[in-house]
């Protein structure tokens, strides 16, 4: 394209330039011809422009957080409703707060589903009992409250250049224990002192059975 030896070409300001001349091609032009290779030396050069590099950080990142959940339990039916949910996470430096909040919202919704609804259940013959959404309960908008999400505590990660930490799974990790502990706490305060544990999903039938167990 530039009709020059490799050693005579320098890359500067987004352009490939033949030293000492005004002959140059932009990065865009080079990329275009790599994918539209009509004047390529096809015997010696494969079309396309690809590069992979692997970043191996010095250590993992360690985000930390605290999750608080408030529930109401109807002792007559065992129905649990999640009234409020607050998440405080230290994800280090946050590049895009909106994406990070959305990630936490999604994770908490998933966690509430796991804690209260979702159940892959088999009978004694190995037949899946919750094989469709008529029996497999997914969380829906009305099953979850509006969330309060806080990222005001920022402890930059020390072993990557951006000072960031992982945030993808935080919501889904913190929320199930927060929900289940809130249910147990509500039952204890309501006088059902014998209820110390309920397996997930904490369905109405299981809550009622625990109360009356």
């Amino acid at each position: 394209m530039l009709e020059a030896a490799e050693g005579d070409i320098v890359f500067e300001d987004g352009k490939f330039q033949v030293t000492g001349t005004d002959k140059a091609k932009t990065f865009g032009e080079i990329a275009f011809s790599a994918y539209v290779p009509h004047n390529y030396p096809l015997e010696t050069l494969e079309p396309g422009l690809e590069e992979t590099s692997f970043y191996d950080p010095a250590n993992f990142t360690y985000p930390a957080g605290a999750y608080a959940c408030e529930v109401e339990v109807d002792p007559e039916t065992g129905q649990v409703s999640v009234c409020s949910f607050t998440c405080a996470d230290d994800f280090g430096n946050v590049m895009n707060p909106m994406i990070v909040e959305g990630q936490v919202h999604g994770g908490v919704g998933q966690g509430i589903g796991q804690a209260l609804l979702e159940n892959t259940s088999y009978d004694e013959n190995g037949q899946l009992l919750s094989g469709s959404y008529m029996d497999y309960a997914m969380p829906r908008a009305e099953d979850v409250p509006f969330y309060t999400v806080d990222h005001s505590c920022v402890t930059a990660c020390t072993h990557n250049p951006l000072g960031v930490k992982g945030c993808g799974e935080a919501g889904a990790i913190g929320s199930p224990p927060a929900v289940v502990n809130a249910v147990i706490d509500a039952l204890q305060r309501g006088g059902y002192k014998h209820v110390k544990h309920i397996d997930m999903p904490v369905s109405p039938a299981r809550v009622w059975a625990a109360i009356n167990g």
């Binding site: 159940n119 259940s121 369905s203 039938a205």
Partner: protein
């Protein structure tokens, strides 16, 4: 889905004729039948749509009762029955989601008689009359167990006639996934007594709770049933709740329905 023929008659007589043919089956809202056909669990030769028959549509007051055409969608009942029979309208408005309510119909629901369906409880508690192309069937004779009704081959529901109670309420406890009734109770108070119908709980489908009817006919307050015991040993037991849990719901929901009526 297997291949099938489709006809859409515009009169009851034409529909009756079409349904008398071998392999013909009624199609109303399709909310139950079409998924079954898609799963290849049903393979009718001819679907006879009942939604193009004018007499089978709509809600009207007549002889002091509320008459609902067999092919009237739940959403129409929710809107049009409201001034006359609010508990029935509320029940219809709580079935499924908007798509289901705009397609699914009362005739389809009570013909199918799903043990967890809502309408059968209203029909039974109201002491309604099911009008078919052949006869009139009292609610007490119509429901004959899970997915079973008094309808004969080729017979279809053209109208349901509801007496209007003095007070009534339906309280439904949602199955967490499908939002059908895990258990639902319809209580209706008439001048000559109270009727209580329970759906979602029994292996025999919708049923009347006689002890509660007696107690509430004497004293229409939630406290009146406090001393009653419901036996859950024969009730539906599945991953959403045991028979004992459903028995508990029967009593709790009946009390709530009385308070809400």
């Amino acid at each position: 889905m297997y291949d099938f023929e489709f006809v859409k008659p515009s009169s009851i007589a034409e529909a009756a004729k079409a349904l008398a043919a071998d392999g013909a089956q009624a199609l109303s809202g399709g909310q139950t039948l079409l998924p079954t056909m898609k799963q290849r669990l049903a393979a009718p030769g001819t679907l006879v749509s009942l939604t193009g028959i004018a007499e089978m549509q709509g809600v009207c007051l007549s002889d002091g009762g509320l008459h609902i055409g067999g092919a009237t969608p739940h959403a129409v009942v929710a809107a049009q029955a409201k001034p006359h029979y609010p508990a029935l309208a509320a029940l219809a408005g709580g079935i499924g989601d908007p798509a289901v309510r705009n397609r699914g119909t009362i005739g389809g629901s009570i013909a199918n008689n799903d043990p967890a369906a809502c309408y059968p409880s209203a029909v039974l508690a109201s002491g309604a009359t099911v009008v078919t192309n052949k006869r009139k069937i009292a609610a007490d004779d119509y429901f004959q167990g899970m997915f079973t009704t008094a309808l004969e081959e080729g017979e279809f529901v053209i109208e349901v006639r509801f007496p209007i109670p003095q007070k009534a309420a339906y309280v439904k406890f949602n199955q967490p996934a499908s939002r059908f009734a895990l258990t639902g109770v319809f209580v209706a108070k008439f001048a000559d007594g109270v009727r209580v119908a329970v759906t979602g709980a029994s292996n025999d489908g919708v049923f009347r709770w006689a002890e509660a009817e007696a107690a509430l006919s004497a004293d229409f307050r939630a406290e009146a049933i406090a001393g009653l015991v419901v036996d859950g040993s024969d009730m539906i037991s599945d991953l959403h709740g045991s028979g004992a849990y459903r028995a508990n719901l029967v009593k709790v929901l009946t009390g709530r329905a009385v308070s809400a009526a």
